[in-house]
């Protein structure tokens, strides 16, 4: 069943429900309190959790923006609203950047190789270089994403004013989208190296960075699904968020869940087969021996395998509600996996029971996310007219 929106509905903008705003603000405060308390009772675990949440939220939000850029580059015609939802994350970007600065300031508390310098790797693993490359790359990525969003919004405003979008204007958006995708790959790789992989400085795997940014894209799609479900009736743009659209998004998640499992397996198999000590210890600690496998394997199944089975169902993919439940499971699983990737490197098997408290710093991220995204959507139209205008361009001629 598709629901047609009248033109005036399309113009209607999202108003932030008062209760939601309040809840988000409370969440932010509670999250900060959890972190502060955490610093007193279990400082190392608090840093670990901050790194984990940074990696998760940075991953999901950059994944969502990356989807907007990818859809733009691929000239996808069905995603004007999905793109806009992706754009809305740009307001969350400063929060991520702020947390990253905080993490860099406190680097001595969680960056393991600062205490036991890794032999032969000083050229890459040194603090000034790490600070510079993270700030430069993530800054560049943020700027490019912001430009993508800004240019699209400007083009929208023009379109709304009755102007036709020139080919040149469309080309400009596609070009900035391409730049975003390239920078996303590079910057995400560096985040994967600096905030996850190099915490076990002896370990290295060529697959690791691609694995992280591809699973981020996967989780980003899950984020888009959740936001789309939540905003579906509120945005008044139902004709771009029909069950068919959710089905398509579900299929993309399905594909990426299988692909992610494939990458996981490719890395696992290569290390298992090679059986080289400097590679295997990372896997053994997380998936083989001790307590971590009890988190590691469930995280894998919850994040990838179970969604893969759930997403086989057409009915589920057509139902926004159930699809967003699946998406929630995905993000939860991916977050748990990130925890397993980060924590053992820093704290080994000695997880303080009190680390439950700083785990709640997630509330800060959640609240900030909700506040920023809703602020964006309240300000700008829900339908990205520039992307909608792709309709009718580049027709395929069967016989010329």
């Amino acid at each position: 069943m598709s629901i047609e929106a009248s033109p005036d509905q399309m113009e209607s903008r999202f108003t932030v429900p008062g209760g939601l705003k309040l809840a988000a603000i409370v969440a932010v405060v509670l999250g900060i309190v959890a972190a502060v308390v955490g610093f007193f009772v279990a400082p190392v675990d608090t840093w670990v959790w901050l790194v984990v949440w940074f990696v998760v939220f940075m991953g999901v939000s950059s994944g969502m923006l990356a989807w907007s850029a990818v859809f733009r580059v691929a000239q996808a015609k069905w995603t004007p609203v999905v793109n806009r939802i992706g754009h809305s994350v740009i307001f969350f970007w400063p929060v991520c950047f702020f947390v990253m600065m905080l993490l860099l300031v406190g680097a001595h508390s969680w960056v393991t190789w600062l205490h036991e310098p890794a032999h032969d790797k000083e050229a890459w693993l040194n603090l000034p270089f790490m600070v510079i490359r993270d700030i430069v790359l993530l800054g560049a990525l943020g700027v490019l994403f912001a430009l993508l969003v800004r240019w699209t919004l400007v083009a929208d405003a023009r379109k709304q004013g009755g102007e036709e979008l020139s080919d040149r204007g469309q080309w400009r958006l596609t070009a900035i989208g391409t730049a975003c995708v390239f920078t996303y790959v590079v910057a995400s790789s560096i985040v994967a190296y600096d905030f996850i992989m190099s915490l076990s400085p002896e370990w290295y795997s060529t697959m690791f960075a691609p694995y992280i940014w591809i699973t981020n894209i996967y989780a980003g799609m899950a984020g888009l699904v959740i936001l789309a479900t939540f905003l579906r009736s509120r945005l008044g743009a139902m004709r771009f968020l029909t069950p068919q659209h959710f089905n398509d998004m579900g299929n993309l998640m399905l594909g990426f869940s299988l692909f992610s499992m494939g990458l996981f397996f490719a890395q696992y198999l290569t290390i298992w087969y090679g059986n080289i000590p400097e590679e295997t210890f990372f896997i053994i600690e997380r998936y083989y021996r001790g307590g971590w496998p009890y988190v590691g394997w469930p995280a894998f199944f919850v994040g990838y395998a179970i969604p893969f089975i759930m997403l086989q169902s057409r009915e589920l993919k057509h139902s926004p509600k159930w699809l967003s439940v699946t998406a929630g499971i995905v993000i939860f699983g991916v977050a748990a996996e990130r925890y397993v990737l980060v924590a053992p490197s820093v704290v080994g098997s000695a997880v303080s029971p009190l680390s439950v408290i700083p785990a709640f710093s997630v509330l800060f991220f959640l609240g900030a996310f909700v506040l920023s995204v809703t602020a964006f959507l309240a300000r700008y139209p829900a339908v990205s007219s520039a992307d909608e205008a792709l309709h009718g361009r580049q027709k395929m001629e069967v016989i010329s």
């Binding site: 696992y268 198999l269 169902s313 009915e315």
Partner: protein, 189 residues
């Protein structure tokens, strides 16, 4: 009661929309059965066809697959094939390594990790074979022909066709219906 001999009315269409219109009105006209022909994938016409319907929910899918009614069961068969392949190939790898239980290099004879590869390929192999055979079987290709006297070779080229089986008293009205929908040629077979 004597059996009613159904008679066949054939309508040919050049225009796809007219063809769909005709199917739509046939559906409500009370004609017991009709078939559609056309050179493009007609799968999407499901809602316009007589009540051999597309399932709407999981439960209906299960019911219709079990009772053998009008859902295409091809996907279900493919899934069964795929799961069989998964189990069979994994079993093959495990069972054949267990024939000679020699410990080599301190490793157990059965190694699960690499056998995933074998099981994965088996899943796809048997799944695909099942899908292919199921398609041939259910679409009655090779496995038995249907008599389709109304078939016109141009149905695979540029014409769309409707063949309606109707009771003798419906023939006239059906022909009228097809003509009204925009058929270029209508006749009783």
């Amino acid at each position: 009661m004597t059996a009613v001999v159904l008679r066949k009315v054939v309508g040919k269409f050049e225009d796809f929309d007219a063809f769909k219109r005709a199917l739509g009105s046939l559906q409500v006209s009370g004609v017991p059965d009709y078939e559609a022909y056309g050179p493009v994938n007609l799968d999407e016409l499901g809602p316009l066809m007589p009540a051999r319907m597309i399932p709407r929910s999981f439960k209906e899918t299960v019911v219709e697959i079990l009772t053998g009614r009008n859902v295409s069961p091809v996907r279900g068969v493919a899934t069964v094939g795929a799961i069989t392949g998964l189990c069979l190939f994994f079993y093959m790898a495990v069972a054949t390594s267990n024939i000679y239980k020699l410990i080599v290099g301190g490793k157990p004879p059965v190694s699960r990790v690499p056998y995933v590869v074998i099981a994965y390929e088996g899943t796809i192999l048997l799944g695909a074979i099942a899908a292919f055979v199921a398609t041939l079987y259910y679409a009655r290709l090779i496995f038995g022909r249907q008599a389709m006297p109304e078939y016109d070779p141009r149905f695979s080229g540029d014409l769309f066709g409707v063949g309606a089986s109707c009771a003798p008293e419906q023939v006239e009205s059906t022909m009228e219906l097809l003509r009204n929908a925009g058929a270029v040629e209508v006749y009783e077979y």
